[in-house]
C-alpha cells in the first residue's frame, strides 16, 4: 500500500483539527434561525418531560391502585363529556392519556438515545480500526457490515426479540424487554457510523500530520484518539442526532406491530398500537395524541439535525 510514501507537500502545517463548533459559527447561525430555536425549545420540553415524568405528569398512571374504572374512555377536556382533570382524555383503564404519553416519552427517548449511543460506540471503534489499518481487518469488518446490512433494521429486531424470548424465557424477557429493543435497534445501526468513519479515516490517514505522527512513532491508539477521532467527530455528531429520530421511529414501529415494548411499560409506539384498535370506535384520541407527540418529537430532532448539517456541512 502507498501510505509509506510521503507526499511532496509534506512541509505544509497540520490542518486545524478542532471541530467547527468551537469557532462560534454555530451559535451565530443558531440565533439567526427562529425555526431551530423553536425546535430546541420543543425538544427541551420533551426532554424535561422524559427525564422527570414524576414531576410533570399530572397523574401517577403506573401506580395501578390509583386507577378508577369509572373514568374509562373520557374524551379530551374540550370535547363534550371531557374533564379538566384529564386534558387529553383517558384510556380503557381510566388512565390519564397525557400522563401516559409523558411516561411513554421517557421510554421512547431512552430507547432512542441509548441505542444510538450503543451503535455509535460500536460503529466508531470498528470504523476507526477498519479505516486506519485496512487490509484483512477492514475486509472482515466491512463484510460483517454487509451481513448486517442484509437485514433491514426491523428484521434484525424481530430476530433479536425472538432469540431473547427463547434464551431469557418469557418472564425474564418481560423485565428486559426494553434492553432487548435497545440492542435490536443498536445492532443494525452501527454499520452507518462504521462506514462513515471508515471513509473519513481513510482520507485523514493520508493527511500529512498523521503521516508525521506515524513517522514520529507515536502509539497507534494515541494517533487514533488525538488526530483522527476529532476530525471525524463532526459528521458523526450530526449523523447521531438524525439517527436518534430514526431509532425512535423504529422503536415505535416495532411496538406498533407488537414486537417492541410490552404494554406494561408503554412507549409511544405501544400507546399508538393500543389506540389504533379504537380508531374507528370513536375514541380517536387514544391513537391521535400519542401519534402527534411522536411526530413532533421526531420533527424537532430532525429540524435540529438539519440545522447542524447545514451549518457544519459534514460530508455525509
Amino acid at each position: 500500500m502507498s501510505q509509506t510514501t510521503i507526499p511532496s507537500d509534506s512541509a505544509s502545517i497540520p490542518v486545524d483539527a478542532r471541530p467547527p463548533w468551537y469557532q462560534g459559527k454555530l451559535v451565530r447561525a443558531f440565533l439567526r434561525s427562529p425555526l431551530t430555536i423553536l425546535a430546541v425549545i420543543v425538544l427541551v420540553l420533551y426532554l424535561l418531560a422524559g427525564i422527570a415524568p414524576d414531576l410533570i405528569a399530572p397523574h401517577k398512571v403506573f401506580d395501578l391502585s390509583t386507577l378508577d374504572f369509572s373514568n374509562a374512555f373520557l374524551p379530551p377536556a374540550w370535547v363534550e363529556g371531557g374533564s379538566m382533570r384529564f386534558p387529553l382524555g383517558t384510556d380503557d383503564q381510566g388512565r390519564d392519556l397525557l400522563s401516559a404519553i409523558i411516561y411513554g416519552l421517557q421510554v421512547s427517548l431512552m430507547v432512542g438515545v441509548v441505542s444510538v449511543l450503543l451503535s455509535l460506540v460500536i460503529g466508531t471503534v470498528l470504523g476507526l480500526l477498519a479505516g486506519y489499518f485496512g487490509g484483512w481487518l477492514d475486509a472482515l469488518i466491512m463484510r460483517i457490515a454487509d451481513i448486517q446490512l442484509t437485514f433491514p433494521a426491523i428484521l434484525v429486531a424481530v430476530l433479536v426479540d425472538g432469540l431473547a424470548r427463547a434464551v431469557l424465557g418469557s418472564g425474564l424477557h418481560e423485565q428486559l424487554a426494553i434492553w432487548v429493543i435497545v440492542a435490536a435497534i443498536a445492532l443494525p445501526g452501527w454499520v452507518q457510523y462504521a462506514r462513515t468513519i471508515r471513509g473519513l479515516t481513510m482520507v485523514v490517514r493520508g493527511h500529512n500530520y498523521v503521516l508525521a505522527a506515524r513517522l514520529m512513532r507515536q502509539p497507534t491508539s494515541f494517533i487514533l484518539r488525538r488526530h483522527i477521532l476529532p476530525n471525524v467527530a463532526t459528521p458523526i455528531f450530526v449523523l447521531a442526532t438524525i439517527q436518534i429520530a430514526v431509532a425512535i421511529v423504529i422503536e415505535a414501529t416495532l411496538s406498533f406491530i407488537g414486537l417492541g415494548v410490552p404494554p406494561t411499560e408503554p412507549s409511544l409506539g405501544t400507546l399508538i398500537r393500543i389506540g389504533n384498535n379504537y380508531m374507528l370506535s370513536g375514541e380517536w384520541w387514544l391513537a391521535i395524541f400519542p401519534g402527534l407527540a411522536l411526530f413532533f418529537l421526531v420533527m424537532a430532532i430532525n429540524l435540529i439535525g438539519d440545522f447542524l448539517r447545514d451549518v457544519l456541512n459534514p460530508q455525509l
Binding site: L64, F69, D92, R165, P263, T264, I274, Y278, L280, G282
Partner: protein, 532 residues
C-alpha cells in the same frame, strides 16, 4: 357543491375500477357475499384444522352426518336418523341419492373412511373420533361403536366433514397432510364434498372464492350464489372494509367497534350469547410459586386466596369498558343453556374489595404477593386488554401481577408444559353439556383416558375425580344433571377457577344481508340470504 364533487369523483373512480374488473363479466343478478374474517382458513382439508374459521368455510363445501339448528340441537344432514341400539353402538341411516361434486355417490364406505381418517395422528379431530369403530350394515346404514357408553356421539359427528373415499385414495390423501414429510397434499388445496358450494379459486391469506353448484341435494333457506372470503387480520382495516362496503359480512367484529357499526348507516349487527366462558386458572400443585414471590409459598393452594382474587374483580367494569357490553359476567365456569348450568352461581362471588383484602389477610398475605400472569394476545376477544384490566384490579388489593402477554403460538405450548402459575383461558363444551368441562378441566390429568387433558392447574383431588366419574356414569338423566349442578356449586364456592364472563358473539353486515349467529360461532351459509 362540495358533496357533488365528491360524488362525481367517487363514481368516476368506481366506474374506472369496475369497467376493468373481470368479476363483472358474470351474471349481473348473481348474489355475491363478501365475508371478512380475522384469519384465513389454514387448509382445505376437512380434518386438518380444528379452528372455527376453517370449519365454517369448509362446511360450505362439505356436509357432515349431523348438523345443528339455531338452538344448537342436533339435526339430520347426511344421516336421516340415528339411534343408540346398544349402550356402545349407534346406528345411522344415511341419505340416499347424494353425490359428491365429482359425481361419485355418497355411501356408508365414505363415512367409515372419514372416521378412520380423523383418527390419524395429523388429524385435529382426534378427540371427536378417538376409539370409534365402524361396521357397515349396507350402503346406507352404518354402525358406530364407541369404547364406552357415549351419549354425545351424534354431537361428535357434527364436526366430521364427510370425504369421498375413492377421491381421497385416487389423490393420495388418506390422511391429513403430514407437513414434516415435506409432501404436498392434494386435499389441502382441493376440495370435493357434497355441500352446496364448490371451490373456485384460492389465494391463501388473500381471497377464497366459492360458487354454488346449483345441484345441492338439500333444501336451503340461503340464496347466495358466490361466496368471497377475505382474511383481514388487522382490526381497524377489517372494520373499515365493512364501513366502506368492501365486504358484506364480518364474522370477527372487534368489541370496541360494535357501537359504531350499529350506528353506521346501512349496517346492522346480530348478537348471540356465545358458549364460551373466560376464566383465570392457577397452579394448584406446586409448593412454592414458580413465577412470582409469595414468601416461599404457593398462595393459590388456598381457596381463600382464589376467592379473594374473585372478589377483587369488578366484572361489570370489564363488561362496560374493555368488552363494551359484549360480556355476561359470571363467577363459575359454565355458560348458560349448557346442561348443569345454575344461574345463581353467576353471582356467587360478588365484587367486594374489602372482603377480598380480608380474605387475603386471613390466608396470611396481608401485604399481598407477586405473580406472573400468562395471557394470550390473539386468542380471545380483547384478551390482552382484559388481562391488563385484571392486573389493575389485583393491584388494588395488593397482588402485583406481572402481565406476560404472548401470541397463542407461544401461549399454548407453555400451558401444555404446565409451565405457568396463573393464566387466562376460555372454555366451551362442544356438546353444550357441563360434564365435558368437568372431565377435561378439573380431573387429574390422565393421557390414557383423556381426562384432565386441559387441566393446566396440575391439580390432583381424588375426591373430585371420583365425583366427576360418578356423574359421568349416571344413566338417569335427571340424577346426572343434579350431580353436575352440585359439582359446579362446589367448584364455584372453592373458586377452583375464577370465572370472569361469557362472551357475546357479534356479526356485522350490510343491511341487505341476513346472517343468523349461532352460539358456537359457526357461520351456517345455508341460512344466509341477501336482498337485491
Amino acid at each position: 357543491m362540495k358533496s357533488n364533487t365528491r360524488k362525481f369523483l367517487t363514481s368516476t373512480l368506481l366506474a374506472a375500477g369496475l369497467a376493468a374488473s373481470p368479476l363483472l363479466s358474470g351474471d349481473a343478478m348473481a348474489k355475491t357475499l363478501r365475508i371478512g374474517a380475522q384469519a384465513d382458513a389454514g387448509t382445505m382439508d376437512p380434518q386438518a384444522q380444528n379452528i372455527m374459521t376453517t370449519i365454517t368455510l369448509l362446511s360450505m363445501i362439505y356436509d357432515s352426518l349431523v348438523s345443528r339448528d339455531g338452538e344448537m340441537q342436533p339435526q339430520p344432514r347426511l344421516a336421516t336418523s340415528w339411534e343408540q341400539v346398544e349402550p356402545t353402538r349407534w346406528r345411522f341411516v344415511l341419505r340416499e341419492g347424494v353425490t359428491f361434486h365429482d359425481g361419485a355417490d355418497f355411501t356408508a364406505e365414505d363415512v367409515a373412511f372419514t372416521i378412520e381418517r380423523a383418527q390419524q395422528p395429523t388429524s385435529q379431530f382426534l378427540s371427536m373420533a378417538a376409539g370409534l369403530k365402524t361396521e357397515i350394515v349396507d350402503d346406507y346404514t352404518i354402525d358406530i361403536i364407541t369404547p364406552e357408553r357415549d351419549i354425545f356421539l351424534p354431537s361428535r359427528m357434527i364436526s366430521l366433514a364427510i370425504m369421498d373415499k375413492d377421491w381421497a385414495e385416487a389423490n393420495g390423501s388418506l390422511a391429513p397432510q403430514n407437513l414434516g414429510e415435506g409432501e404436498e397434499s392434494f386435499s389441502a388445496l382441493n376440495a370435493n364434498g357434497t355441500g352446496p358450494y364448490k371451490l373456485i379459486s384460492r389465494v391463501p391469506d388473500s381471497k377464497t372464492v366459492l360458487e354454488a353448484t346449483g345441484e345441492y341435494w338439500g333444501e336451503m333457506a340461503g340464496d347466495i350464489d358466490t361466496v368471497e372470503f377475505y382474511p383481514l387480520s388487522n382490526d381497524p382495516t377489517r372494520v373499515a372494509a365493512l364501513l366502506s362496503n368492501e365486504v358484506d359480512l364480518l364474522i370477527d367484529v372487534p368489541a370496541q367497534d360494535v357501537a359504531r357499526l350499529e350506528a353506521a348507516p346501512g349496517i346492522k349487527t346480530e348478537m348471540v350469547d356465545e358458549y364460551r366462558t373466560l376464566f383465570i386458572g392457577f397452579d394448584h400443585a406446586s409448593d412454592t410459586l414458580k413465577y412470582g414471590d409469595a414468601g416461599g409459598k404457593n398462595p393459590f393452594k388456598d381457596p381463600k386466596v382464589r376467592q379473594a382474587i374473585s372478589h377483587a374483580i369488578d366484572r361489570q367494569a370489564i363488561k362496560r369498558t374493555v368488552m363494551r357490553g359484549l360480556a355476561n359476567p359470571t363467577t363459575q365456569m359454565l355458560a348458560p343453556k349448557n346442561v348443569g348450568y345454575v344461574e345463581e352461581l353467576d353471582t356467587l362471588i360478588p365484587y367486594d374489595r374489602e372482603k377480598a383484602k380480608e380474605l387475603l389477610a386471613e390466608a396470611g398475605y396481608p401485604d399481598g404477593f407477586s405473580v406472573t400472569f400468562d395471557c394470550p394476545n390473539n386468542r380471545y376477544i380483547n384478551d390482552e386488554q382484559v388481562c391488563r384490566t385484571l392486573v389493575t384490579m389485583l393491584a388494588q388489593i395488593g397482588i402485583e401481577a406481572d402481565l406476560n402477554a404472548m401470541p397463542r403460538a407461544q401461549y399454548f405450548p407453555k400451558l401444555w408444559e404446565r409451565d405457568t402459575s396463573m393464566f387466562l383461558m376460555g372454555i366451551n363444551s362442544p356438546f353444550a353439556d357441563g360434564i365435558y368441562n368437568l372431565e377435561k378441566y378439573t380431573m387429574t390429568r390422565n393421557d390414557e383416558t383423556g381426562d384432565g387433558i386441559y387441566n393446566y392447574t396440575q391439580s390432583d383431588y381424588p375426591e373430585l375425580n371420583a365425583r366427576v366419574e360418578d356423574a359421568r356414569r349416571t344413566e338417569d338423566e335427571a340424577e346426572r344433571v343434579k350431580k353436575i349442578e352440585d359439582l359446579y356449586r362446589y367448584l364455584t364456592e372453592e373458586q377452583f377457577y375464577v370465572g370472569l364472563y361469557n362472551q357475546v358473539l357479534v356479526y356485522a353486515m350490510q343491511e341487505n344481508v341476513s346472517a343468523p349467529v349461532r352460539p358456537d360461532n359457526w357461520l351456517e351459509i345455508r341460512w344466509v340470504t341477501m336482498d337485491e
